[in-house]
């Protein structure tokens, strides 16, 4: 029974509200382990769902699900140490909503019905909003307010889009269940005008949640104000969940022969996001906001690749998997930096290579991965996307794409160098006293999750299990993607 995989964290999440702190922490890791086990089982057996019309196991859903499980398990191990160090108030609320958040995200990956998908994505917003407000400062209050208002309005647009798709069925006289898989089968008979309208609204709606510019304004605030484990989840998997909604709708568009229309819109939104990230990343003075803008960039890359089609879709999926692995490790490392230096501004950090060597390795490795250095997966993904863009004749778009990536790399590298090597405050020797001592002992549980995430990403570049490769190929085949 497929549904058990999101019901488990839902129940343990509710339980966590009433349990004492210590038990709640164990529950977090325990549920993470069970979830990982269940999703591996699901991956192997691929059973039918009990509520057949509402949930289904699809290749693209499986990919996201495995990423969610792995990330959540590693993040939950990190979270235990983080909670000990950071002294968050009302910890059971935090753990409870972490588990509910896991449950809702899992539901997104498994949902096949258009409306259930919408409900699940809206539920992720509601479950994650309290996580952003964990620190109870006025800035986190503002971030939560922005997050919930912008995302709710955005997702209301997606609902309107879903209604338009049902209208497209009515006008086309189609009698089929309202699920993505059955709609993809009958896509040719749907009314094209309302289908297009539906796609645009759904793209704007879920695009808001995915962090596509110009609807991205909530993202840097939410990611920088949330506690680092929650930021890692938001950036690593929540954005993918929203992308999944767009991906599945795009499948219908592709089956209906409207992929030129949907592709063009995706390319435009993707490029705007990459350009916006390039503009804002240059002058960031907070490292978590910098990482957030990098997420916007990567979501832009994914949307761009999906829009290009062909080999680009394959590249987009590769980028999505590696972005999740690397970016969540970066956010966890940024949690260490925040605890160590006690400050969110780049100018107040520095010399991390000597002061926090283990975190430095994780952070710098993550930086190398996310900015697309050759052996890492993001490089491979971006390479495929660029090849795809040239193949389909999008020369100008590819030019803008490459140029923006260079700008982002330069801006990102500049800031990371400052955090890692800048020793301006202690090379003169006189203001040595003003440097605060590092307030964090780098425990194994606070660096190994990052190492494992980065190693997984690295290994996937050289060796990809056949079943994983086949699942990606199955997923992109529906969008006409692949190596042909």
């Amino acid at each position: 029974m497929v549904e058990i995989i999101f019901l488990t964290p839902f129940l343990t999440g509710i339980l966590a509200f009433f349990l004492p702190k210590a038990v709640g922490r164990q529950l977090l890791v325990g549920t993470g382990a069970i979830h990982l086990f269940l999703s591996l089982l699901l991956w192997k057996n691929r059973p039918q769902a009990y509520f057949d019309g509402y949930f289904a196991v699809t290749p693209e859903g499986l990919l996201s699900l495995l990423v969610i499980s792995l990330l959540f398990f590693l993040i939950s191990i990190y979270t235990i140490s983080y909670l000990e160090e950071s002294g968050i108030q009302k910890e059971n609320i935090f753990t409870g909503f972490m588990l509910l958040f896991l449950s809702t995200m899992t539901m997104v990956t498994l949902s096949d019905h258009i409306m259930v998908m919408w409900i699940a994505i809206e539920a992720t917003t509601l479950a994650s909003a309290p996580l952003i407000y964990t620190h109870r400062s006025s800035a986190s209050l503002e971030a939560t307010w922005k997050y919930i208002l912008i995302c709710s309005v955005g997702i209301a647009m997606a609902l309107l889009g879903s209604v338009f798709i049902t209208l497209a069925m009515d006008i086309g006289n189609v009698d089929a269940p309202l699920s993505f898989s059955s709609l993809t089968n009958v896509a040719k008979t749907l009314d094209p005008v309302w289908l297009k309208a539906g796609f645009v609204f759904i793209l704007v709606g879920y695009g808001t949640k995915m962090g596509l510019a110009p609807m991205h304004t909530w993202l840097p605030d939410a990611h920088s104000e949330a506690p680092s484990p929650a930021s890692a989840l938001l950036s690593g998997v929540l954005l993918n969940c929203a992308y999944l909604g767009i991906f599945k709708t795009n499948k219908i568009m592709h089956a209906a022969g409207l992929n030129d229309f949907s592709g063009t819109i995706l390319i435009v939104f993707g490029l705007i996001s990459i350009l916006a990230a390039a503009t804002f990343i240059l002058k960031q003075n907070e490292y978590k906001r910098m990482l957030a803008y990098s997420s916007i960039e990567n979501m832009g890359i994914i949307a761009f690749g999906t829009g290009i089609g062909g080999i680009g879709v394959y590249g987009a999926i590769i980028c999505m998997i590696h972005h999740s692995l690397i970016k969540s490790s970066l956010f966890l490392s940024s949690g260490n930096i925040l605890l160590g230096y006690g400050d969110r501004y780049i100018k107040n950090t520095g010399d991390m290579v000597r002061r926090m060597p283990k975190t430095f390795v994780a952070f710098f490795g993550g930086f190398a991965g996310i900015s697309g250095f050759p052996p890492f997966g993001i490089f491979i993904g971006e390479f495929f996307i660029i090849v795809g863009a040239f193949r389909t004749g999008h020369y100008i778009a590819a030019g803008i794409f490459i140029l923006s990536l260079c700008v982002i790399f330069a801006g990102f590298a500049n800031q990371v160098m400052k955090i890692s090597f800048n020793s301006s405050s202690d090379d003169s020797g006189e203001n040595l006293d003003s440097i605060k001592p590092i307030g964090l002992k780098e425990k194994a549980s606070m660096v190994w999750p990052q190492y494992i995430l980065l190693l997984t990403s690295l290994i996937l570049c050289f060796y990809m299990p056949d079943t994983l490769y086949q699942t990606i190929i199955d997923a992109v085949a529906a969008l006409g993607g692949g190596f042909k």
């Binding site: 006025s138 800035a139 503002e142 609902l159 309107l160 879903s162 209208l167 009515d170």
Partner: protein
């Protein structure tokens, strides 16, 4: 042309839309949103294609929650914590009303062009839905009082509900259920945040929320 009974009550909603552009105080706006919620949840009863008992009960539950419980609880909340009653317009009231009039004309014009077969006999349904949607967005953008923004959001959802439940029979109950869940949980969380905004800044003017930029 004979007006359908649905159109008669919808014309009142259109009037209330105009009123909400001119409302300067939060309690008035709450009444308007409550009224719209009641009418929006009643409309499926009239257009009911095949009403089951369960469906009717569900519709009445929706009506109770959207039209009575949510507006009442917001009203009680603002009374309790002594929140300022002015909606703090960014765009003035006269300009707002003018916008509203223009919007209703535009909505009517667009609805004529769309020509959706399943609701073509209800002349005012689509214009009202569009007007509610856009007005909700307008309130979100053009008012600084956080409660007025939440009310704008609810108004938007009312508009979507009107379209979602009447345009297509197919997904009606799940649309109803989804929106209900959304509005209940969403408004609840918004209310909690509002309380905290009030406690932190001693006001619910969103002009205070300006520290995070870029």
């Amino acid at each position: 042309m004979i007006l359908h009974p649905v159109d008669t009550i919808l014309s009142l909603v259109l009037l209330s839309v105009l009123f909400s552009y001119g409302a300067s105080r939060v309690p008035g706006l709450i009444m308007v949103v409550g009224f719209q919620g009641i009418v929006a949840s009643m409309v499926p009863l009239f257009i009911g294609h095949d009403m089951t008992t369960g469906g009717i009960i569900f519709t009445f539950a929706t009506l109770l929650i959207r039209g009575v419980i949510i507006p009442m609880s917001i009203y009680i909340a603002i009374k309790k914590v002594e929140i300022k009653r002015e909606v703090e317009p960014i765009i003035g009231f006269h300009a707002s009303i003018l916008c509203g009039l223009g919007l209703i004309v535009a909505a009517t014009f667009i609805s004529r062009q769309l020509n959706i077969p399943s609701i073509s006999e209800y002349t005012l349904l689509l214009p009202t839905a569009i007007a509610l949607l856009v007005t909700g967005m307008f309130l979100l953008i053009a008012r600084r009082n956080a409660i007025a923004m939440v009310l704008g959001y609810i108004m938007m959802e009312n508009g979507i509900y009107l379209v979602g439940t009447t345009i297509s029979v197919r997904a009606r109950h799940i649309v109803e259920f989804g929106i209900l869940l959304d509005i209940l949980a969403g408004v609840m969380i918004m209310a909690i945040i509002l309380q905290n905004i009030k406690r932190t800044f001693d006001d619910v003017d969103t002009a205070h929320l300006r520290t995070l930029k870029e």
